[in-house]
Symmetry: C2
Subunit: 304 residues, 2 copies
């Protein structure tokens, strides 16, 4: 449903103006501004969809800072995937009526901790209690250099190397709450290398690669054996381990494409703040994922 | 609870830097920017709290554009109350699983219509379905002149006239969904007059006047007979009509203070895009609302 809806949204939207450099459909929006362009990202996490709160009150309290942290972290991951730096955030909490002030504070504490870690100012928000489950919406405002090229879903070209940061799979065992958004790596790349397409792996490695393939109208040839698999993947059989890395969601690693010469330089760069691995090559062809033997790779991941 | 929480938030927050001109606690945040300062506002409306969806499917469909419209309108009202112009918006929908694509489109259509009306670009968002009720979070990015003075809750001074736009009371009968945010009036005031404190009447006339009184540490002397009462107020008895105007929420009119000389000019201005009425005077004293005879006026309105 999301793709169809996004397509309709783009037609319906009024963002086709000089002021809006990037509108609906990428990891974030880019607005023209006099000094640096503005980058705006927004994401909601909801109880039952993006996290489960334990029924036990003490366990629930214990988990709330992680939920607050995640609400900002997913947005900071989008900022990284736009090749931008974050500045300010707003937070909207819809809290169950059972939450007292102490409980809301624990939630908020998780937000302020990660905000401080990444130099983001929390500048506003809205806190309500209601009869429903916990919902946290966060919006982050960042910036990138005027007219910065690349970093969009649409920017992959045949011949590009496909690179990823970190490792994939099994984030459900805890990493989906504790991951560090790849802001440092993104800034390192912006400063030193020309990046073509970029996104972050939120839905799954295959789903987010497919988003680049579709938006750029290219094919992705993947060397499945090269995909870095997280120690969080509990499977032992090789095929199942690769499937977990390809299909599990919420890794929040960077996925990006660069030309061959740049790829060689990046892979030789000893100062990268996060390890980067090459997992394939962008080739001409209808938007799909294939193995190096040309076999179709199923796209499986979180469906909105 | 909100005041206590906001107090804690302000201590906890890290927004005390040169970059953040106005942080948590006002209608919006102001960030320093090279050309015009950025203004960021955010607000969530939730089923059961801010609106009720009819159980009947046809009636529900019919109402959805109004809900979408309101989600942006409440934020545009905050932009007006900051003396700012809106530019871009992001929208986050948490939709009940019963919503099909057609239903989500109706909701969104209400957003795009008001966005076009006020020249706002919808640049991003997030749409999820879940088992809970409908929640819409919107964030609007606007701007105001570098270093623009006034328009904050803290800017009222003794001797100021208290002015309001439009009429108050009975918005629950429909106006809470159809109101026009006072952006034109705000821009007219910014261009022509020096405004001290300003806010919009969302919780109630008395609750939002009290917010200015508390933040500015002043007393508000109100001429109750001067308060413009909406035709939507169904009470017939004079006292009850005034009470409705003072205590009903969601009027989304501007409440602002200016010095006496400016007040005279504004009230004589035949080009005001919305009628403005003087309802009282800011005086020295502990933060409370009093009648012209010095009697305490109860502060009643929506409690977060």
């Amino acid at each position: 449903m999301e793709q169809e809806f996004l397509h309709w949204l783009r037609q319906e939207s009024n963002d086709n103006t000089d002021e809006v450099i990037v509108g609906i459909g990428d990891d974030g929006a880019v607005l023209k501004s006099s000094n640096r362009d503005l980058v705006i990202v927004t994401d909601t996490i909801a109880e039952g969809t993006h996290f489960v709160l334990p029924a036990n009150l003490a366990e629930r309290r214990c988990m709330l800072p992680s939920i607050g942290r995640k609400s900002l972290a997913v947005n900071l991951s989008d900022i990284a995937a736009m090749g931008a730096e974050p500045h300010a955030a707003t937070l909207n909490f819809q809290c169950p009526r059972t939450f007292d002030l102490q409980t809301v504070r624990r939630l908020y504490k998780g937000c302020t901790n990660i905000a401080k870690q990444f130099g983001v100012k929390i500048v506003g928000g809205d806190t309500n209690t209601w009869d429903g489950p916990l919902v946290v919406s966060a919006t982050v405002i960042g910036s990138r250099a005027n007219g910065q090229s690349g970093w969009l879903l649409t920017d992959a070209v045949p011949g590009d190397a496909i690179l990823v940061s970190g490792e994939f799979g099994g984030s459900i065992h805890g990493r989906h709450l504790t991951f560090d958004p790849r802001l440092k790596l993104a800034q390192h790349l912006v400063s030193n290398f020309r990046v073509h397409a970029a996104t972050d792996a939120s839905d799954s490695l295959t789903a987010d690669l497919m988003a680049i393939a579709t938006s750029s109208n290219v094919q992705m040839e993947l060397n499945l054996a090269a995909i870095p698999i997280s120690k969080d993947v509990e499977e032992t059989e090789s095929q199942k381990r690769i499937a977990a890395a390809c299909q599990d969601g919420e890794d929040f690693e960077l996925i990006f494409t660069v030309n061959e010469a740049i790829a060689t330089k990046i892979l030789a760069d000893a100062t990268l703040p996060t390890p980067v691995t090459r997992i394939g090559t962008v080739i001409a062809g209808p938007p799909q994922l294939v193995t190096i033997k040309g076999k179709l790779i199923p796209v499986i991941g979180y469906q909105h």
